[in-house]
């Protein structure tokens, strides 16, 4: 393939112009990044290239020939493969069958050769450094990060000429991210054209040759990496000045939460304190068990042993309801599976954390709910025409904002957030950091699980490193550095 061109592509959904006259050219052997705020239209554009959406106007050209990519199957025939922002795996099937979905190696009678299927998968997994995962593992047993890697493997297995990655690293931690980059660079050598979407600017600058910027569905132009400074990039995509983090702590001496000798399915002897107004980070590799710790804290998962002291009194939660009532809220990772009610409206989702807030004189009131939702929508700048919109129609980042809004409304004393800025643009990121900070300022404490190290380093008063389910270190801000954390986290 010589090149892939988009000529003034437009696409609109009820109430939204997702794309307006967007032009884009991708060349083989380049890594081409697409930047833009949440809802800028990135995924929509990618979906058009992948054959899931049809543009309202404009055309896609391959080697100068106009083509209609009417279906995913068709995209495959053009050698276009995509890693979707939302996972497209089948939980009830094995890793192998997910990677080679609908194209399992078969003999000339069309009968599947299971051993070959597993061998091929094994190789692929090894090449991605996923030694731990067996080809016949059921996907529902994997952690989101692992699922994300499988998603990538699935795309790579097609040996594509054009590879699209829509926020592949959002749930990956440093280690996997680096690994992915090396793979992408080698693909680049072999003249694959790579479209890369991420909200992590360091990645953009580390990886790209060229960068195209979208804003409100309009193309802001394509730049060579050298032409762009961080500031200029941000300015073009956000269009407003960012309030950067000043690192000072609201931490107070008195302990709010004390966890001691907590043991569970995937972790052991977890002990730590959480002070009022303190922001503590949980760092670690994938599968380190951070989410499980959180789940045990709020009482979703059984805890084998250990005590949890809230304000000095020992507490036991056997259901999130209890923890929410006692002022501990958990913002789960995996928004589609654990965070959202996809077919319900933005309004219903936002009030779902505490339906009580939608009550008026003891009865549920839609107007009240709408008012509440509208408020959150404005605070978090959720891009949606109305709060009646089904949440599944929102862009990834905006969905994440809905999840956050929902949990902020439960106004907890302790907020546990798992990958809070998963897929959120830098503009919004800083707003969220501000919100977390202000919560801390009110004397609330925050436990944040994140695979985005710079985020942790910038935000946290303290970083607790988890390695294979155990506390490997507890670094105050003063001493915490990327290297220290990584060395503690690594096996």
């Amino acid at each position: 393939m010589e090149n892939l061109k988009c000529n003034n592509i437009s696409k609109s959904f009820p109430g939204v112009h997702a794309l307006r006259d967007v032009d884009l050219t991708i060349l083989p052997g380049e890594i081409h990044s697409i930047c833009g705020e949440n809802g800028a239209g990135k995924s929509t554009l990618m979906n058009i290239l992948a054959g899931n959406l049809q543009p309202d106007s404009g055309e896609v050209l391959i080697d100068g020939r106009a083509v209609k990519i009417e279906s995913p199957q068709m995209a495959f025939t053009f050698n276009i493969a995509i890693v979707y922002q939302h996972l497209s795996l089948v939980d009830s099937l094995s890793v192998a069958e997910n990677i080679f979905a609908n194209r399992q190696p078969a003999n000339r009678f069309g009968f599947i050769e299971h051993h070959k299927l597993h061998e091929d998968t094994r190789q692929l997994l090894d090449s991605l450094g996923l030694i731990a995962i067996r080809p016949d593992t059921m996907v529902f047993r994997l952690s989101p990060a692992e699922k994300q890697m499988i998603e990538i493997a699935k795309a790579l297995s097609r040996k594509p000429a054009v590879l699209i990655l829509d926020e592949p690293t959002a749930s990956l931690s440093h280690k996997e991210t680096q690994l992915l980059f090396t793979i992408l660079r080698t693909l680049k050598e072999s003249k694959v054209a790579i479209l890369y979407i991420s909200h992590r600017l360091d990645e953009i600058f580390a990886l790209s040759d060229r960068i195209s910027i979208l804003k409100d569905g309009r193309s802001q132009g394509t730049f060579m990496l050298e032409e762009l400074s961080r500031e200029k990039l941000i300015a073009t995509m956000v269009g407003r000045p960012l309030n950067v983090l000043k690192d000072f702590s609201h931490s107070r001496p008195d302990v709010l939460l004390e966890v001691s000798e907590l043991n569970g399915a995937k972790f052991k002897n977890i002990s730590f304190k959480l002070h009022q107004g303190e922001i503590v980070g949980l760092a670690g590799l994938i599968g380190a068990g951070r989410a499980e710790i959180a789940r045990a804290l709020i009482g979703v998962d059984e805890r084998k042993s250990g005590t949890i002291m809230l304000n000095g009194v020992s507490v036991y939660f056997d259901h999130p309801r209890d923890s929410i009532e006692r002022g501990i809220s958990y913002v789960p990772e995996e928004r589609e599976r654990l965070g959202l009610f996809p077919e319900m409206s933005v309004r219903d989702n936002i009030v779902s954390g505490d339906l009580g807030i939608a009550e008026e004189r003891g009865f549920y009131s839609v107007p009240k709910a709408t008012r509440v939702a509208e408020k959150s929508k404005n605070i978090l700048r959720i891009a949606t025409p109305t709060v009646d919109q089904k949440v599944m129609n929102l862009s990834g980042g905006n969905q994440q904002k809905v999840v956050l809004a929902k949990w902020l409304l439960t106004n907890p004393k302790i907020l546990i957030v798992d990958e809070p800025t998963h897929g959120i643009d830098i503009g919004a990121k800083f707003e969220i950091y501000e919100i977390l900070r202000s919560l801390a300022a009110e004397g609330k404490s925050i436990l944040i699980i994140s695979s985005d190290l710079p985020e942790l380093l910038g935000l946290c008063d303290r970083i607790i490193v988890i390695r294979e389910g155990e506390v490997a270190g507890d670094l105050p801000r003063a001493v915490a550095t990327e290297e220290k954390v990584m060395s503690l986290a690594a096996h």
């Binding site: 009610f341 077919e343 319900m344």
Partner: protein, 316 residues
């Protein structure tokens, strides 16, 4: 406007009912559009509708219960049994009948929610068990029940038999509750995404038990009402009612996968089917033709609904 109507099954169904009603009135000018006829239609679907309301709540939460038909029979028979063979006073017998249906519902919910037993098989098995128990208590059926018991279902208000009023009452109450109370709205979230609902602090398991309890209780009440209306309790009451009721609810906008549906839909769904069969009676259509025509009408209706939606209210 049209868009709004088409998007909400309750409205589109209402529209359809009006159209059908008008057509029928033209076909049978002096038998169809009469007070007597409508009174009769409503009376005949009152039992189904009361059960359908409970089923609707279950369907909203993403579950369904196949044992309701048997519960209708059992609750009716048990009540009659206690009154007839033990001369228990009417209220106590009724209380016992309702209590039994509550227990059945609770058991269904408990085993499904807390022991992860497959809902379909659980309620199907319960259907057999309860039908068997109905046969056990009532044999070939129990007649001449106490006057005051029969009065419950046979007395009239404004010339309309009581079951109709009970039905309307049930529909109103539950429409209100499901719309207006946080407690009942939880069912929508459970139907929408169970895992998320649980993390949102909704005690999913407990709510599920309540859902089954409710469906079964309403079935029990309906059964007692039916036998009071018949003045007799038959072990064969409510045969195949479960499918009829689920169909009505789905016609009324529910979905087997949960998260959708409104209480009035249950009534409208049942009303639609009631009107169709009434029209077939007036048209003297029967035998296999009634099965064939009813089926064709059902499919045609949904097809039309989808077609108009695609045309005037595309849900991109």
């Amino acid at each position: 406007m049209l868009k709004k109507i088409l998007e909400d099954r309750v409205y589109s169904l209402l529209l359809l009912l009006v159209v059908v009603g008008i057509m029928a009135s033209i076909l049978f000018p002096n038998t169809y559009p009469t007070f007597d006829n409508f009174r009769q239609i409503l009376l005949n679907l009152s039992v189904d509708t009361i059960v359908a309301v409970g089923m609707m709540v279950l369907l909203i939460s993403g579950a369904f219960d196949l044992s309701v038909g048997s519960v209708v029979a059992f609750a009716g028979c048990l009540t009659a049994y206690l009154m007839h063979f033990y001369q228990l006073p009417v209220p106590i017998a009724i209380a016992a009948g309702i209590a039994s249906s509550m227990f059945i519902g609770w058991l269904n919910g408990f085993l499904i929610a807390y022991h992860g037993i497959n809902p379909m098989i659980q309620t199907l098995a319960m259907m057999g068990i309860v039908r068997g128990m109905a046969l056990m208590v009532s044999g070939a059926g129990i007649q001449n029940l106490p006057y005051w018991f029969n009065a419950i279902g046979q007395s009239k208000l404004l010339g309309i038999q009581m079951p109709v009023w009970y039905m309307l009452f049930t529909v109103l109450i539950f429409s209100f509750l499901v719309n207006k109370t946080v407690f009942f709205r939880r069912f929508y979230y459970i139907g929408g995404n169970e895992l998320a609902a649980d993390l949102s602090g909704i005690r999913v398991k407990r709510m599920k038990v309540i859902g089954f309890l409710l469906a079964s209780t309403l079935a029990g009440i309906a059964g007692i009402l039916l036998s009071s209306r018949l003045g007799a309790a038959l072990p064969t009451m409510g045969r195949g009612l479960e499918l009829r009721v689920i169909t009505a609810a789905i016609l009324g906008g529910a979905s087997l996968s949960g998260g959708y549906g409104k209480i009035p839909g249950a009534l409208l769904g049942a009303l639609f089917m009631g009107m169709i069969s009434n029209i077939m009676v007036l048209g003297r259509i029967s035998g296999y033709w009634q099965e064939i025509i009813l089926g064709v009408i059902l499919i045609a209706t949904l097809w039309l609904d989808k077609f108009l939606q695609k045309k005037y209210a595309p849900i991109t």
